[in-house]
Structures are given as C-alpha cells and as structure tokens.
Symmetry: C2
Subunit: 323 residues, 2 copies
C-alpha cells in the first residue's frame, strides 16, 4: 500500500538520549508498512526512521529462485548484520543500510541512515534472535486472519511488485513452510499481537470496516483503558480477559469496524488526553490507507491501533516505560 | 597493479582473540595495493582480509564531477561508517561493506565480510580521525617520490580505470589541494613511512630497481636490524639516524634497488630467522608486481619492505607488540 508523506512541525526532543525502537513484525502482506507509516505520521515523519528488514536480503529475487530458498529463511538474510545495525541505532549511531529493491527484486547500493528519535523496524525476522529482541522498546506482531492476508498479498504482489497472479500464488505456497518455521514463532516475543479480521456479517471485507483485536501481553504497561471501554462498550469497543493459544492469560481489546464516526472520534480524544506529553502531535491525520480497490480510505480500527502504539512510543521516549 | 592470488596451508591461529589491523594509507597510486597484496601473500591469503577505504565513497565518479568534490575529501566519504566498521572488525564482528567499482566509478550493492586473523586497511583517509587510528596495530604511510607517484597514477588510471591521459592529468590537478589538506597530514600518525624513489643514477626507473627508505618511528618496537645492517652494509642496506621534516629524530632504513640477488636472499633469510612464530609462511613468494611496462617483476626492496611489515603483523598477532 502506498506510503503517505506529510510534514509536521518538529515536536520537542524526546527525553531519552537514545532512539525509541518499535518493532512491527509479521508475515508478508500482514499490514506492517501501513501500520508503520501511520504511526510515523502521528509521531512526525521527520522524527521517525522506518527500517525494513527486507533490505537485509542476501540474494536477489532471481538468486533466491535459483537456490530454492525463500525470503523468509534466516539463511537468505544478513541476520547478524541486521542485529548489529539495531544495536548501533539503539546506541544512537548511524548505519549504512543495504538496499533491496522490491519492485525489481534486486540488491542496490547501501544507504546512509542517521538515527532519529523514533525508529520503526518492520519486516519478517525482526524478533528472530534474542539480541535483536533486546533492542526494542515496543514489540508488535501483525497477525491478520490468514484468508485476509492472502488477499492482501496477492493484491500487493501483483500491483506493486510486478508479479503475475500465478507467480504470486506460487510464491505463497513456497513460503508456507518457512512462515511456520521462522515467522510465526516470533509471535510469542511480542508485547501486542494485532489481528485484523472481517466482521462476522461480512466475510468479503478487506478494508475500512475490518474489525481489529489487540492481544495485550503484560510485558508493557498498557494504558488504563477503562474510560475508553466505558465510553465505547455500546459503540464497538470491548475488553475481554482471554487465554492465548498457549494458555496464558491476556487482555483482548476489540475495536469493531462498524464503530460510528462520532464514537471513534470521542475515543480518539480520550486517547489524546492520556498523552499530555504530545499535544503538538494531535492534528496529524492517521488511519488512511489504500483499499485493495485502490481507493484511499479511513479506517477507525486502524486509527485507534496506530494511536495506541504511538502512545507506547511517546511514553517510552519520556521515560515512563521502564527501559 | 593486478592482484596475485596464491593459497597457502593455513597457519596456526593467531594468538590474539581479535584480528590484527594494519593500515596502509597514502595518496592515490602510492603503491598501497601492491604492498597490501604482497603482505597478504606472506601471511596467507586465506588469513587476510583486505579492505579498501575507497569503497566508502558516498558519490559515484559522475556525482563527484557534478558536485566538484574529489574522492580525497572527507565529505565525499562515509568516514563515520568507515570508523564504525574498523571498530567492529577489531571487535571481531562482521561488516556489510559498501562497494565502489573503480573500473566504472559507480556504487554497487554492499558486501558481507567476516573478520580474519589479519586485516589490511588500505586507502586515502584511514588515519583521518583519532578513533580510526586507535584501531590499528601497525600504521604505514606510503610516500613515494612525487614524480614517481604521478607516473604510477597516470599509468594506473589509464590502464585499469578507463581514464584518457587528459582526464587522468586533470584529475591529478584537481586533487592536489585536497591531498595537501587531507591526505598528507595523516603521515604524522604512522609508525613507518615508506618512500620508494628512483636511484641517483637513474631518474627514469619506476619498478624493480627503485630504492626504498623506511622512516621508522619509535611508536613500534622495530626489530633489531643490526645483524641485517652488518650483513648488508656493503650490499645496499643502510640505517641512519636522521631528523624527520618536523625535526623529530627517526631511524631511516635504506634498501638499494641495485642490491644483488644473493645479498637480498641472505637478508630475507635473516628476517625469517627473526620470525620463529611463522616458519610455515616462509615459502610464500613475495615482491612480485607488474611494472608500468606491463611486465611481471620481482623487486628486492619491495620483498624486504613486505617482509618487515609482515614481521610486525606476526609479532602483534602473537602478543609480542603491546596492544
């Protein structure tokens, strides 16, 4: 989905003397880039560096085909250099990042990146090793319903990456095993699992009216959501104590895709009130994305998801979260 | 000058738990690559990683021309990343090194390099910053006579880098000021200054019969050269106490280009006897290079220069030098 770029006036400097790192990890076409660009817009594009771990691919698309290895396999990525670069950025040092051209599937010259107050790392293998995981302040794992992800992936690969429908389908098949071996096991290391899914009454929905569930692990100090829930309980917002698939207790925050504009806005306002550190960010438009019909849309569940993650970033920057 | 590649049986592991770093710094076409490849052959090509700092150019040849900046200027090089990579290698970590294609003058995809027991860093700006200089165990500065360097440079740029004679001459002019500002001031930080020059009776010599002078600073524990000098005093070898151009006292070791094969060989043997740590390296052929007439040659002054620097590398690897 295309990136949106807006400029905002620079907020005051983050109070930590090092960048705050957010990980957005998940399978391909799980919605990582859409989430990352939206959060960057909230925090201010000039304050945020987005790193895509796909840039650390060792092989071009043609070389991967030749070697019969997928982009998801650690052996087809410079995982040690990626880890090194996360550590350097966390220590406030610049990196010379390799570059992978998704459109052409080729490796290109490296690119110099200086750290910024907020760094968003999105990609496939960002929680693969302990030393990588130790670099983040906030760890998100994207897990849309699998049928929805497949629709997103076919649309994206054919529209943005020059695949034919047949090639994109083959690629999905080829990746299935490596996804189970290398991508999905990373879910357990996240603080928040984000699950977009079609509402019960509309299996075909792929965009603005998707529901979202946030699985909230106690590894982060989540905001007190009770004012939100009280305000939203009859308006498509819910909070439930559940057992995760590993049996461990978690909170699940649900935001309905059919939430009304008014309810969504009042919930946004409540969230902003919990962020007295960043009133200057309040006017940034969020939640925009491009639907698979190519239409620009606003999704309330996406807006609120972006805001909740931005909340953690701002709190971490101001030393509210333990670091 | 073309690189030579030979394989040797792997020597025992170096005793340090980190690589030994040698710097070979100097203006372009000062003979850095010839020296580096010869030393690598002595130490064993599979034990040595050669890094060229030119790979850290920010701009392609065309971009430099457009911006009117030379390759010698720190602003046209990723000096901070170069410094970071030296520090990583010294800590025994791999790097993803950018790549500059000298033939085409373009930037290319980065290259993964794991450290090896010996690392030779050759290039223009390797002693530019204190933090870089602190990474080396041995620091060499190449300073051939200027007229000789110009002959070498014109030959190399036209033969290997696709310049016309006029372009190569223009490039020399353009670089003169930056050489004085940025390259030559690094001389003072070296342990050894290597000066190749034509013998008094033959101004036109550019290859095998050049004399060499080693200016030896007390910043390294140089070997006791008295047995060499005694054996060689009538055979083209000399050691003189001199004042450097800054007035500081230095030893100057002179090796004549007209030294006989027999004398050179017996001197080589004496040097090997000072290296009981590395008898297995003794059979490696050194001192070969390609003359500007395109002929492969052996130069005794070059052989002995390479051996003397390899001596310091082996001693450093075995913890004999302070580190």
């Amino acid at each position: 989905m295309p990136e949106h770029r807006t400029r905002v006036s620079a907020p005051g400097p983050a109070r930590l003397d090092r960048p705050v790192l957010l990980g957005i990890i998940g399978d391909s076409a799980a919605g990582k880039t859409t989430l990352a660009t939206g959060i960057a817009r909230i925090l201010g594009d000039d304050q945020v560096l987005i790193i895509c771990s796909d840039d650390y691919h060792i092989y071009s698309r043609a070389e991967r085909a030749e070697r019969r290895i997928t982009a998801l396999h650690p052996d087809s990525n410079h995982v040690d250099i990626f880890e090194q670069h996360l550590q350097l950025l966390r220590r406030n040092q610049p990196i010379l990042k390799p570059t992978y051209n998704h459109e052409r599937g080729t490796l290109e010259p490296a690119q110099y990146l200086a750290p910024r107050p907020y760094i968003i790392v999105e990609g496939l293998l960002g929680y693969h090793a302990r030393a990588m995981r130790d670099c983040y302040d906030v760890k998100v794992y994207m897990e849309p319903n699998e049928e929805l992800r497949i629709k997103w992936k076919l649309w994206r690969d054919c529209n943005d990456r020059g695949y034919t429908a047949g090639e994109a389908q083959d690629e999905l098949e080829r990746r299935r095993e490596d996804s189970q071996r290398f991508i999905q096991p990373q879910r357990t290391f996240s603080d928040i699992v984000i699950n977009f899914c079609p509402p019960k009454n509309d299996d075909a929905e792929t965009g603005a009216h998707l529901d979202v569930h946030h699985l909230l692990r106690p590894t982060l100090p989540h905001p007190d959501l009770s004012p939100l829930i009280e305000a939203g309980s009859r308006n498509g917002l819910s909070l439930e104590l559940c057992r995760d698939r590993d049996g461990k207790p978690v909170d699940v925050l649900g935001i309905s895709g059919s939430i009304s504009d008014e309810s969504a806005e009042s919930l946004e306002n409540l969230l902003w009130e919990m962020l007295p550190e960043a009133p200057h960010l309040r006017n940034n438009h969020v939640g925009e994305f491009t639907d698979i019909d190519g239409k620009p849309c606003i999704s309330h569940p996406l807006v609120l998801t972006q805001l909740l993650i931005a909340y953690h970033m701002v709190k971490a920057a101001h030393g509210v979260h333990a670091v």
